[in-house]
């Protein structure tokens, strides 16, 4: 079983090298990417099964022993995140293959998409599996570098503008993280997370707090927590639909993952719990108020993304097992739903020719399937029963009520208000884009029989296979992958009971810390 642990990192990296070599053969590239991500999903599921019935699985990379060498460790939490992220990346890959990355112009460098995408996946899985703070940094860098390439794909003026902000902010957060690492090493003499757990406890309170806030600051920028979130709604919407979808689903959640690890393993005791609760509340409210004010669906969804990060901080800030469990559940739900929504909006853009709400209308009549694909995850995001969004929010609110105290109650109220405002924002999209009379600027219903993609979505010349573009406006593969994610999101409701048990288990062992440390150092921490 141990041999499986490094595979989710190694396979995408090898796949990236292979697809880079196959740059001139798009068909082979697609086959390699699909095979690699399918295998990653399989391995992740196997890891989840293994860790949910046994202790965390540990691999000392290259045979170098723990405090000096790099440790990869898969516990329940990491394995769960792996499974969800692998499922989501696979669906988005299928979607982007269906789209043929055709939404850009003809100069879009198709050949670099697959390698970057696989490197991004490797970075995400490396961050999830890492048992070493420096390796976590490397994981972040891998995924960030790949994301720089993806967000400026094609190098159009708009993407360069948005990409510049994104790149500079990300580099700054990485530098803060690296500074934090330098300080942690200087203070403790180790960066192995299991070893740090004990050594950080022994540090003087003030120093401990400095290191703690330094790391939280770095992860807060990556997770788009409110005062540090302004970069996100400006940069994400300009990228191609599948890229935005995978960024929205995964990248901020890697930041949340790192925050959870920091709060539970490295700095337990909740000294910054109140801070997390306050910024969580602000993130929720400011984010959703931003969303309400938007007139473009992609930007609106980016703001809801920021807003809902607040829910996760809410759960983490409660520092109770129930709160943490609900937060993890919420992460799983939100990765799925936010990605699905962006994919659905990508389809809206294809069908309606725009994502500006004042240029759309009547989509429900023009394309009932598309309407369903948007409606179900949208309600899920807003937290309508019986969807998983409702269950996640219910868990968080229960945990908040159980904690008591003025701040948790404020968060409960804020959470309910945010949920309501999310419903309002989503309902606005629905009534403007899907109801009303079809906008005159939009292609008419007879256009669904087009065999050629509409102008502006012309297919690059080096893709020889027109089969995927039949029924051009809503290619089958794109619809199929979106349907798969919608179904996955709905299925979360069906398996909510076992899933919640799993997240509770994961949260308990996170708070207990011992299983993690003992897995790395069976004979006691050196």
């Amino acid at each position: 079983m141990r041999v499986l642990v490094p595979l989710p990192v190694v396979m995408p990296l090898l796949g990236a090298a292979l697809t880079l070599m196959l740059a001139r053969r798009p068909r082979a590239q697609r086959a390699v990417s699909l095979a690699v991500l399918t295998a990653t999903l399989g391995v992740s599921v196997a890891l989840l099964v293994a860790t949910s019935t046994g202790p965390p699985r540990v691999v000392q990379v290259g045979g170098w022993a723990a405090p000096l060498g790099i440790v990869l460790i898969a516990d329940q939490f990491a394995a769960l995140m792996l499974v969800v992220s692998a499922a989501v990346t696979l669906c988005v890959l299928v979607y982007s293959i269906g789209q043929g990355m055709a939404d850009g112009n003809e100069e879009t460098p198709l050949s670099i998409y697959h390698p970057s995408y696989l490197v991004l996946t490797a970075g995400v899985t490396n961050a999830f599996l890492s048992g070493d703070l420096f390796n976590l940094y490397v994981g972040f860098e891998i995924l960030l570098v790949a994301s720089y390439v993806l967000i400026t794909l094609g190098g159009t003026e708009n993407r360069i503008r948005a990409g510049t902000t994104y790149v500079v902010v990300s580099i700054l957060s990485s530098l803060i993280f690296l500074t934090g690492l330098g300080l942690v090493y200087a203070a403790t003499g180790t960066l192995n997370m299991a070893q740090l757990a004990g050594r950080l406890d022994a540090l003087p309170d003030g120093l401990n707090l400095v290191l703690h806030t330094m790391l939280l600051l770095a992860f807060g920028i990556k997770a788009a927590v409110f005062p540090l979130s302004a970069w996100l709604p400006d940069s994400y919407p300009t990228a191609p639909a599948p890229v935005t979808a995978v960024f929205a689903g995964l990248l901020t959640k890697v930041g949340v993952y790192a925050i959870i690890r920091t709060e539970t393993l490295l700095f337990p005791g909740g000294r910054t719990a109140d801070l997390l609760l306050v910024v969580g509340l602000l993130t929720m409210l400011v984010g959703i108020l931003g969303a309400v004010a938007q007139s473009d669906i992609k930007r609106l969804l980016s703001f809801t993304l920021v807003s809902h990060i607040g829910y996760m901080l809410f759960g983490i800030g409660l520092t109770s097992g129930l709160g943490l469990s609900a937060a993890i559940f919420y992460v799983v739900h939100h990765i799925t739903v936010q990605t699905t929504l962006f994919l659905a909006v990508g389809l809206v853009e294809r069908r309606g020719g725009s994502t500006a709400m004042d240029r759309l209308g009547g989509l429900a009549r023009l394309s009932p399937l598309l309407a369903v694909l948007f409606f179900v995850p949208a309600l899920n995001l807003a937290g309508i029963p019986p969807f998983s969004g409702f269950l996640g929010k219910l868990g968080l609110i229960e945990a908040g009520v159980a904690s008591g105290g003025p701040l948790p109650w404020a968060l409960v109220a804020g959470g309910l208000l945010t949920s309501l405002l999310t419903l309002y924002a989503i309902a606005r999209v629905w009534s403007l884009a899907f109801w009303r009379e079809p906008h005159t600027a939009m292609p008419g219903p007879e256009d669904t029989t087009h065999t050629r993609p509409p102008s502006g979505t012309a297919r690059p010349r080096d893709v020889p296979d027109p089969a995927e573009f039949s029924g051009a406006m809503l290619p089958r593969l794109m619809v199929a992958s979106t349907v798969a994610l919608v179904v996955f999101g709905v299925a979360l409701t069906a398996v909510a009971g076992p899933l919640f048990e799993l997240t509770t288990d994961a949260a308990d062992s996170l708070l207990e810390r011992v299983p993690y440390i003992r897995a790395v150092y069976p004979d006691g921490v050196p």
Partner: protein, 141 residues
Amino acid sequence: MTPNLTYVVVVGVLFAAGVTLLLERSLTRVLMGVIMLGNGVNLLILAGGRAGGPPIVGTTPQDRMSDPLPQAMILTAIVITLGMTAFLLALAYRSWLLVGHDEVQDDVEDRRIVALAERDEGPDAVDDSDTDDDAEPRPAP
């Protein structure tokens, strides 16, 4: 080991200069800032480990070796900073090709708010005598 004051001062200067440059609008200067900050962080990491002779078995007695781990980490960080520098340079060049400058531009939202303010303060506004200066539109991006 006692902290070396030279390190601390140099790190401080690099950080200060880096942050100042990072606040500039031109991407090339931001890039300079990133490089300075990156080097500052590297020195900071180096200062965090024990000083001593080369950490090679046989050349230095074990208790007088420097700590090799920070050096390994700095190597990784240098490579990453190099990659970032190359990418930022490419970005600045592309921006220069497309729009003729490499300035970091305003957020879409900022521009919309400025545009709204302009409309409010336009010729039809009731009183624009003394608010004009505040609502001075930024140069069109």
